[in-house]
């Protein structure tokens, strides 16, 4: 079964694919947009995209792509992200002047990099930074990526777990063409637009609070072309087929301009 992910082989997204799916055939793509396109076109059965990280926050581009495409969220998965400082074999930490990686990885290791007194260089991907390092042949540069990426490119790990805070988890969403209907404890992800008037968000959240439905995430994104108005993405505990959730969404319909269910899926645990 083909599963699309963004990045080079050895990316954390590929590690998450192997955790979430059984024996996936992981297919790398340069951009998140291409992951959505591959699943929409049927070239891949599923895609797996990062949506938020406990240190650096939400990956906004994927929130925006969820709304611009018509795919469903079919599952979620948590991955503990352990960053490694990677360089050519024989190089020591004292040699390093420049460190390359994805901006989110650089941000997650900001304190460590400050102490190391190096220049940072943002690149498109974590595993890709190891590939670029290898191609550059530069011995005073290092990359930040997974241990797997170091192995794939035959490079040396100088230090493991260099993120500023060990509670470094990324939440991934599995996306597919069809919605799923599962038993057990589920989550439902929705997105809605509100009228720009006092109390609008309060009323929207009341439909869940009045029914004791737990809200696990709220994210606002700007509405293009409508300055200082926002679209809200909300995750709630409960399946779409749960009668309380159905009633809450009916009720929400009274307050919102638009409402879309992005998916109802099995809730992941942190292990």
């Amino acid at each position: 079964m083909k599963v699309a992910f963004q990045g080079e082989k050895g990316a954390f997204s590929e590690e998450a694919c192997n955790k979430f799916f059984e024996f996936p055939d992981t297919i790398p793509f340069d951009t998140f947009e291409e992951v959505f396109t591959a699943v929409t076109a049927g070239d891949c059965a599923y895609g797996l995209i990062p949506i938020e990280n406990t240190l650096s926050g939400s990956i906004h581009q994927n929130y925006d792509l969820l709304i611009r495409n018509t795919l469903y969220i079919v599952g979620e998965c948590f991955l503990r992200v352990r960053h490694c400082l990677i360089a050519f074999p024989g190089v020591t930490k004292q040699n390093i002047k420049v460190v390359m990686s994805h901006p989110q990885a650089l941000w997650q290791c900001a304190g460590y990099l400050r102490d190391l007194e190096v220049i940072t260089e943002p690149v498109y991907d974590t595993a890709g930074s190891v590939k670029l390092l290898k191609a550059s042949g530069e011995y005073n540069k290092a990359a930040i990526a997974s241990a797997k990426a170091a192995e794939i490119y035959g490079m040396q790990i100088l230090e493991t777990g260099i993120e500023d805070n060990p509670e470094n988890y990324t939440r991934f969403l599995a996306i597919g063409q069809n919605s799923v209907a599962l038993h057990g404890e589920e989550k439902t992800s929705i997105v809605f637009e509100l009228r720009n008037q006092p109390g609008a968000l309060f009323k929207a959240l009341s439909v869940f609070a009045l029914r004791d439905i737990d809200l696990t995430k709220i994210e606002s994104r700007p509405l293009p072309g409508k300055p200082w108005e926002y679209r809200f993405y909300v995750d709630i505990i409960g399946a779409l087929c749960d009668i309380r959730v159905g009633k809450a969404l009916d009720h929400l319909g009274e307050y919102v301009l638009t409402l879309r269910v992005l998916g109802s899926y099995r809730r992941a645990n942190m292990e």
Copy 2:
């Protein structure tokens, strides 16, 4: 009066400084962190930082720096951001293979760049991308920045207003050591942490809704070390000295774990 901003001379932040302050002596810094440090140390009277954009959304790093520092928000300012495609004199659009700029600018011009069929290269700053281009001497590269940046570095503007959506505004916050107390219509910015329990956010927002206090922005950021718990930044219409706002914040104190007022300041208009 010295005002700190992030970026090179010709940055949109510098343009905003000139709009907000009367005859400021604008001082450039490499990072937002250095802007906060310069104001805290008293080297600059004020700093001006971007906080959100109508196309690309919030600048999370500055939300995080507001909480890590003890400065006050003393004002806000809106700037219409017009991006230019900039290259060496004599170069035409057909010559361009690579376009450099800050990731947020690349994101705001994503559709335009897709049609141009070029490779994008994220760098640290918009005006800085023009500086880098000039130093590189490469005629098949372009940068995205302000018209002012093109002028400063003696480069050519190939096209103006290349952002995907003309409603491209950035909201800036002025930060200083002392809080201000102004008359007229004001905004107050606060930040709070909630207990992780059902209905917590709903209760927090009720203190404003029950008093008809308008909420103009809500932003959540992860709490480092507490996976999937969040800190909320909220902007409301009303001054801190307004009795309704005071009562609302007293009431909010009953529901939150921590609460900090980041500042009460004059509300800007879009012109």
